[in-house]
Assembly symmetry: C2
């Protein structure tokens, strides 16, 4: 059985779960407490981060971007069918550009700040959220959601006319922020319309069932018609 | 003419320059002061970071990881000749894993701390280097160089028996640290032997000629037999 070492509120793990779901590749999830730095896990992934995929053949594939490229190469048909990056060079540049933006700039300015301040500090007993860090993160969140809204308003999907890895990376980040109750949906109708479409996909269902000890997502988190 | 918007001490820009050099693709370099956030540049790369490649056909390709994947797809022969990732799935996972490690963990714990404290603070007039940040960065540097040494000691190149993108990404980071005079080569003979081989390649030559106003690299920076 394929195994994914992950954490429930990690946007990179969520992206890989969505990709596996879209490809209909079954996977067993194992939560990895990365902060314990288990020697057996460091053997699989020397960086010590989640996610790491152990494919059915036993191959360990660490890092979400490496996993997504690996799945493209290992599981698409020879004609490229099944691709989540698109078939033309231009489509692939645009999909990868947006994935890099979500997993880089968006993560650093928005997602990881909320995850650290609202979740990791709590579970590790490292004190209260830092009000100044959260203020900056809220300002960035609005700016970054406005950019998603602009993309969603001018294209069928974020990178173009087809669902791509960009939508799955974006939805992974947005889903973490939504779980934490940080998104004021009334302010971002175009993001909401796009996210409702992604959230309704079968691949998304397992993410809606995630629960984290001591935290309750807002009621609309699981609602497909929020 | 192909154009690369870059910065001389940016390890991501240096990686792309090495890749272009290995592929013998000529390029005109343009330094982009990203902190000025020029509107024309933000059109090319909404993230506002370097590097961005403008290929001969006029296509803008932002982000070093996107550029490297693009060059693999646009410029390898149909049989995969020219690849810097390798031909087997296992080789490609290992090369990409190491690139992700250098551009992620290594950059965050080591390179970017030195670049910020020793270079960006100076050119932007943002005060003196933070001694505590530098102390942590030196400890990380030793730990991370030891891992490169272990790889270099057990394989011909970092990801295996062939030169790959992993060597170029690693050499880009190491070259920035060496420019800043941070590496005590006597302590890391295996890293030194590997780096001397990469540094002797024709693709590396332009990097050795980089100069930055107000900073002088140590004499051994340009020496191929340091």
């Amino acid at each position: 059985m394929r195994i994914l070492h992950h954490l429930p509120l990690c946007p990179y793990s969520r992206k890989v779960r969505l990709v596996l779901g879209e490809r209909q590749l079954a996977v067993e999830l194992r939560a990895e407490k990365t902060w314990e730095r288990r020697p057996e896990y460091l053997q699989l992934n020397p960086a010590g981060l989640v996610p790491t995929l152990i494919d059915e053949n036993g191959r360990a594939v660490p890092d979400s971007s490496v996993i997504c490229e690996y799945l493209e190469e290992a599981y698409n048909s020879e004609t490229g069918e099944g691709t989540l990056l698109g078939t033309s060079l231009a489509d692939r540049v645009e999909a990868r550009r947006l994935v890099a933006w979500f997993d880089g700039s968006f993560a650093a300015a928005v997602t990881m700040n909320f995850v650290i301040e609202k979740y990791l500090k709590r579970i590790s007993g490292r004190g209260q959220p830092d009000a100044q860090a959260l203020r900056l993160a809220y300002a960035s969140l609005r700016e970054h959601l406005a950019y998603i809204g602009w993309l969603a308003g001018s294209r069928s999907f974020l990178a173009g006319e087809m669902l791509s890895l960009a939508d799955l990376a974006a939805a992974a980040h947005v889903s973490v922020l939504d779980f934490l109750g940080e998104i004021d949906w009334a302010q971002f109708p175009e993001v909401r319309e796009w996210y409702a479409r992604i959230k309704s996909r079968r691949s998304f269902r397992p993410l809606l069932n995630d629960r984290v000890p001591g935290m309750t997502p807002p009621d609309h988190y699981v609602d497909l018609d929020f």
